[in-house]
């Protein structure tokens, strides 16, 4: 096998990027779903506040997105910078 230092490092960055993004996507996906579920419940209880609730849901989901974006950034760094 032609495994050399550079090759091994590239291989490690690829696997690292894949795992960083793949595992990092689990939390935000579930978290944003929970936010969405509560927002639907709140609209069901009080439909007149739909606009406010949609805004609040999106802000909450955006914050929960942050760790997903961190994963994306780390994956991109591993792929293109390191």
């Amino acid at each position: 096998m032609g495994i050399e230092g550079v090759d091994l490092i590239r291989a490690a960055t690829f696997i690292g990027a894949g795992l960083a993004m793949g595992l990092g996507a689990i939390g935000p996906g579930v978290g944003q779903g929970l936010v969405g579920a509560k927002a639907c419940e709140a609209i069901g209880r009080n439909p007149s506040e739909a606009a406010l609730l949609t805004r609040t849901m999106l802000v909450g989901q955006a914050v929960s997105e942050s760790t997903g974006i961190y994963s994306l950034v780390v994956a991109m760094l591993l792929l293109f910078v390191v």
Binding site: M1, G2, I3, E4, D7, L8, R10, A11, A12, F14, I15, G16, A17, G18, L19, M21, G22, L23, G24, A25, I26, G27, P28, G29, V30, G31, Q32, G33, L34, V35, G36, A37, K38, A39, C40, E41, I43, G44, R45, P47, A50, L53, T54, M57, L58, Q61, A62, E65, G68, I69, S71, L72, A75, M76, L79, F80
Partner: protein, 487 residues
């Protein structure tokens, strides 16, 4: 390596024995713990009925134990059986038999805790001794159905221990290993899912003791549908065991391993998910006996849609087994085949389970407001369809991995990029699949309560699902970058 095959097979048998009882003990212990917890809660409310409750608890726990006992039997067999023709294939078969039995018992043990736990809390509310007897019967039937995946896994693992495999080749060894993981992993979801209908039926009997016949029928239908993914996994496992793939290029061995993992992981979500509508339909009949027809229909439609990710996994597994990829180089194709299996298999977990949550909420909603059946079913189907997206992404990445055409490589990095693409999309699809299902289940439930705002709720559900989808899309972007840019 200087190790003779006799020693290798013996080592493999010991590892297999450990895997069998190690994994096999998890589910039964959790199921029995749930049963005991429910029994304690019931005794604290009705201390005077403690003897009835304790008896139900012990009977239920004994049945939940059976999955672990199967695992123990297989573990003991693996420790003490002398292998007739030790070879690399029998060594693989020993590990595979252990993993198959251990993983396959996990779901059944956990799932059969739900009927017995709920029977403990239900038995005190059923004043009539005849109703108590019926509840015990329903509990036992429900638990027995839960054992199906463990029994399938035991059959496959006993075959592996005692089968004669012919000429030992690396292909055959990989096929046997893949079959073990396929059946073992593939039984987890169905074991858990088929416990929900039994558990909810025990609770429903306290409200509607006269309906025990109808309830038992719907329970059996619901639990049977939840077995589908385990049966798909068994079909693939039997094919892997009995089809002679010949003595082909060694890369086929990795393709077969990918096929087994794909079907095994891919069956988990659909199996557990399709138990939710079954459970909710049984609970619903307890609340609203008149809606039995609508509930059964919705249960079947919802559970059928839940099977989609498992069917995607089966398609990819069959492709890995039977498509002739021609004379492909071992490196990097081994990683492409493994990645293709993992991408679809793992991504199917979230979509299958999430879609099941939406279907369960739909049955609950119809039980509360039977006249909303049309709009509730529509919202459920839209929600489920969106929840399938991550598994479709997984399928897409698998197809690219299988059919893109990868140049031969000497270095390890190109292969790792392909494997990483599969892992990235597979893991990345799990969370969004669950998230979409959670959002959809809440929306569907509230459409039933607040029908006039169905449009608003559907819009909110879709916005929430779209946002929750984002990390699956990031995963797909990284997978595509790995596949097309950096390689």
């Amino acid at each position: 390596m200087d190790m003779d095959t006799q020693t290798l097979t013996q080592i493999a048998a010991f590892i297999g024995g450990g895997l069998a009882i190690g994994f096999g003990a998890i589910g039964a212990a959790l199921g029995q713990g749930y049963t005991a917890a429910q029994a304690d809660m019931a005794i604290s409310e009705y201390p005077e009925k403690s003897s009835d409750i304790t008896r139900t608890m012990l009977v239920g726990q004994a049945v939940a134990e059976s999955a672990a006992i199967f695992a123990l039997v297989v573990a003991v067999l693996l420790l003490f059986t002398t292998v007739q023709e030790p070879s690399i294939v029998t060594a693989a078969a020993m590990v595979a038999a252990g993993a198959c039995m251990g993983l396959g018992a996990l779901g059944s043990g956990l799932g059969s805790g739900f009927p017995s736990g709920n029977a403990c809390s239900g038995i005190v509310k059923a004043r009539d001794p005849e109703v108590q007897n019926r509840m015990t019967t329903v509990m036992l039937i429900g638990q027995a159905v839960c054992q199906t995946p463990a029994i399938l896994a035991m059959v496959i693992s006993l075959m592996m221990i005692f089968m004669s495999f012919g000429d030992p080749t690396i292909i055959k060894a990989a096929a046997v290993l893949a079959a073990g993981f396929c059946m073992g992993l593939g039984g987890i979801g169905s074991g858990i899912g088929s416990g929900f209908p039994g558990g909810e039926t025990c609770m429903a009997l306290t409200r509607q003791p006269k309906l025990s016949g109808n309830l038992t029928t719907v329970m059996l239908i619901g639990a049977a549908v939840a077995q589908t993914p385990a049966i798909l996994a068994m079909v693939i496992a039997l094919m892997l065991l009995f089809i002679n793939f010949g003595d082909v290029e060694p890369v086929k061995a990795v393709a077969l391993l990918g096929a087994g993992l794909c079907m095994g992981f891919g069956a988990i979500g659909s199996g557990a998910g399709s138990g939710h509508p079954g459970g909710a339909a049984c609970r619903g009949i307890g609340i609203q006996p008149g809606a039995q027809g609508a509930l059964t229909t919705t249960m079947l439609v919802g559970a059928a849609v839940c099977q989609t990710p498992a069917i995607f996994a089966m398609v990819v597994a069959l492709m890995l087994m039977f498509v002739n990829f021609g004379d492909v180089p071992f490196n990097p194709y081994w990683a492409a085949f493994l990645g293709a299996g993992l991408s679809t298999g793992l991504a199917a977990i979230g979509s299958g389970w999430g879609g099941g949550m939406a279907a369960g909420a739909s049955c609950e909603g119809i039980a509360r407001q039977p006249r909303t059946v049309g709009i509730v079913t529509t919202t459920m189907l839209v929600g489920q369809a969106v929840a399938q997206t991550p598994s479709i992404f997984g399928l897409l990445v698998s197809f690219i991995l299988l059919f893109k055409g990868h140049p031969e490589a000497v270095a390890i990095a190109p292969a790792m990029a392909l494997l990483a693409a599969g892992l990235c999309m597979g893991f990345g699809g799990i969370g969004p699949g669950f998230g979409n299902g959670i959002a959809a289940s809440s929306a569907v439930g509230w459409v039933a309560r607040n029908e006039e705002n169905a449009g608003l709720l559907m819009r909110m559900m879709l916005v929430a699902q779209a946002v929750s989808q984002s990390t699956a899309i990031y995963s797909m972007v990284i997978a595509l970058v790995l596949l097309f840019v950096v390689i």
